[in-house]
Symmetry: C2
Subunit: 393 residues, 2 copies
């Protein structure tokens, strides 16, 4: 057995996440570890909460990172808000709606599924219908930015409908936070979770969450204990709660939090609107290039996430062989399809730090080369030219 | 609001964890992030499993790090092994036995408590009695190394007793792994969890776990689904399972895993027995110094953990004031008491990378100074001399 240190290669990460991490964040994570109850660390936590409130555009007091990846953030929302017997409308238009259903059922709730085709946004009319047919529903859960397809749903409208029917909303914003407009307070979202490894360009492992006063009200009024001790917000709040004395709950992942703090400082420096605009602009350039190469998008333009570009794999092209060659010859990672889309699509991420002109060109140039080896290519250079034209504005 | 980067001070961490992190580990964590399905990363995961098997002294195939802190490792053991209605013997001799009870109950199980005084090891006779009185018990759960008191229990004997009564064992080894003898296979432990931020001297945030074939058998035969999707081993195994193809479950905390890998390489380089001996030796030196200063240990010598030294705070001495002064004047962190021991004891860690002669002297010198300011001191230097004598051997 080896006992050698592990030295990873330098990749360019243009898959569905993790995305390329800003070196400032990697450097921050390597700073000296201090205690999780150290006053200096506690002060950093307060800053972190403010920075997260900015990223989520919320004043919610309970806004903090869960000490585990996005799936644990999802579970935090469900185990705290769903009580046994609760009926939850779950919208599914990709992999992650299915995971929400699993969560509801494992909490002893009943999931009423609202299905849309993979690659389409959630249809608000179907949600309205489901709510009318299920007046006892308590929660509507949906994915704002479906990482498996690249489709964006209208979180504002869906939340309005849910509220009109006296339901709370649980929103998956794993891929949207920092990359595409998201306004928790303006849209009155009740519970939301995200990840660090997408448009925040931090390393994976933490899940920012935020809960409205309405959501907290439901949690406080629970008649049963939250089934997870680790994710019980009543306990977590004692640690991440108001200023002042903090009660020990679990040992926070200190250095990972240094990284997220730095990622949020970088976002604040750029400005949220500027970050959204940067994602939109480079998406347009990438889109122009991919289409010039003859690749087709899975999602209609008006429902498309700029940060996750799902394109259909051309007929006769070997999915895995292309991705392996991109990795080998260009150290470039793009994503495979997930679930029913496995083998049928590639998912090209343009997230956070990785969303820049260099990567647009790299991706188009590398795909141009590798696809040209296995199928009759369009004229070399056409894709790059199309992208350049967009970026030149 | 500030938008400045966070620059933590350089501390010496001699509390109950996190402990001082080896700079090699911090450097490893700052290496380039790669994808969690990258073949290079997958190969690293295989190495990690082998290194963890060595640390746990086991051949258990399901040996891997949970992507969250030690409390989530605890929850992983309970949610997978405890089914609704199961009776579990829970031994409590400190804070963490109480947390085990919480876990059992939140899984719908019944906890039969075996209580021992805080600061004492779990009494095997009481466990035997409880098993005789509860022939329908399925699991015995206990803490090998109680971080709240510094008491070590006899995991081998407790497991023997449990097996004689057809029970599985769940063992908390958060503070013991890498610091004090622990032999999962020789002792036939069924399910065990640990943390990275104690004697492995890694940053907090991951929880190494290991499950025996007997434990997996119980998990496979469950009649109900595991209540946590995130911690469901049936799913996690698809990702961390055998060599070859890995199924996406959640995004692994890539850079945190780089750190753990490096920590385990360091442990392998030193050799497990050497690490245990180092902890034992420096504990003896610290003990000699603390006793020379007139401080008394909470735990009897034969049940004492070398890596966690709980001493009674001398009468009339202000707990918080001393710890604050140590932090301010020496950038030295020692731990406060937890639970019923809050305000009554200090917990001085000698864990992993922090377990060395420099830190023994620093701690004794700093305590000698700070305690001397608030109470009639023993003659200055006596403590250091006593420690030096032990180290000179």
């Amino acid at each position: 057995m080896t006992t050698k240190s592990f030295h990873p290669p330098q990749r360019t990460l243009m898959g569905p996440g993790p995305s390329d991490v800003n070196p400032r964040i990697l450097e921050a994570m390597s700073r000296p570890t201090i205690g999780h109850l150290d006053p200096v660390f506690v002060a950093m936590m307060d800053e972190m909460k403010e920075l997260l409130k900015y990223a989520f555009q919320t004043q919610n007091e309970l806004t903090m990172p869960v000490s585990a990846p996005g799936s644990a953030g999802m579970e935090t929302c469900f185990v705290n808000l769903v009580e046994p017997g609760d009926k939850v409308i779950v919208c599914q238009n990709g992999v992650f709606g299915g995971r929400m259903k699993e969560n509801v059922e494992r909490c002893g709730g009943t999931a009423v599924m609202v299905e849309d085709d993979w690659g389409k946004a959630v249809d608000p009319n179907k949600v309205e219908e489901a709510l009318k047919a299920n007046p006892d529903a308590k929660i509507v859960a949906f994915v704002h930015a479906e990482t498996s397809t690249g489709a964006q749903s209208d979180a504002k409208t869906l939340t309005e409908i849910a509220h009109r029917h006296d339901c709370l909303t649980i929103v998956d914003a794993v891929t949207s936070l920092g990359g595409t407009p998201l306004r928790v307070d303006d849209w009155a979202i009740d519970a939301i979770y995200s990840g660090t490894q997408k448009c925040l360009s931090c390393t994976p492992g933490l899940s920012p969450v935020s809960f409205s006063e309405r959501a907290l009200e439901k949690i406080r009024k629970r008649s049963s204990k939250v089934q997870s001790w680790f994710l019980d917000l009543n306990l977590v709040m004692g640690y991440w709660g108001g200023a002042g004395k903090r009660a020990y709950h679990h040992t926070a992942p200190i250095n990972a939090l240094y990284g997220l703090h730095e990622a949020l400082v970088i976002l604040k420096e750029e400005g949220l609107e500027n970050a959204w605009a940067r994602h939109a602009k480079h998406h347009q350039a990438l889109r122009a290039g991919l289409e010039a190469m003859g690749l087709n998008f899975v999602v209609h333009a008006e429902e498309r996430l700029p940060q996750l570009n799902a394109v259909t794999i051309p007929e006769g092209v070997d999915d895995a062989a292309v991705r392996t060659t991109l990795l080998k010859d260009y150290s470039l990672e793009i994503g495979a399809g997930l679930g029913v889309m496995a083998g049928k699509v590639w998912r090209i991420g343009l997230m956070g730090h990785a969303c820049n002109a260099r990567n647009v060109y790299l991706c188009l140039g590398a795909l141009d080369d590798v696809l040209g080896r296995v199928k009759a290519p369009v004229e070399h250079g056409v894709a790059l030219a199309a992208a350049q034209q967009v970026l030149a504005g």
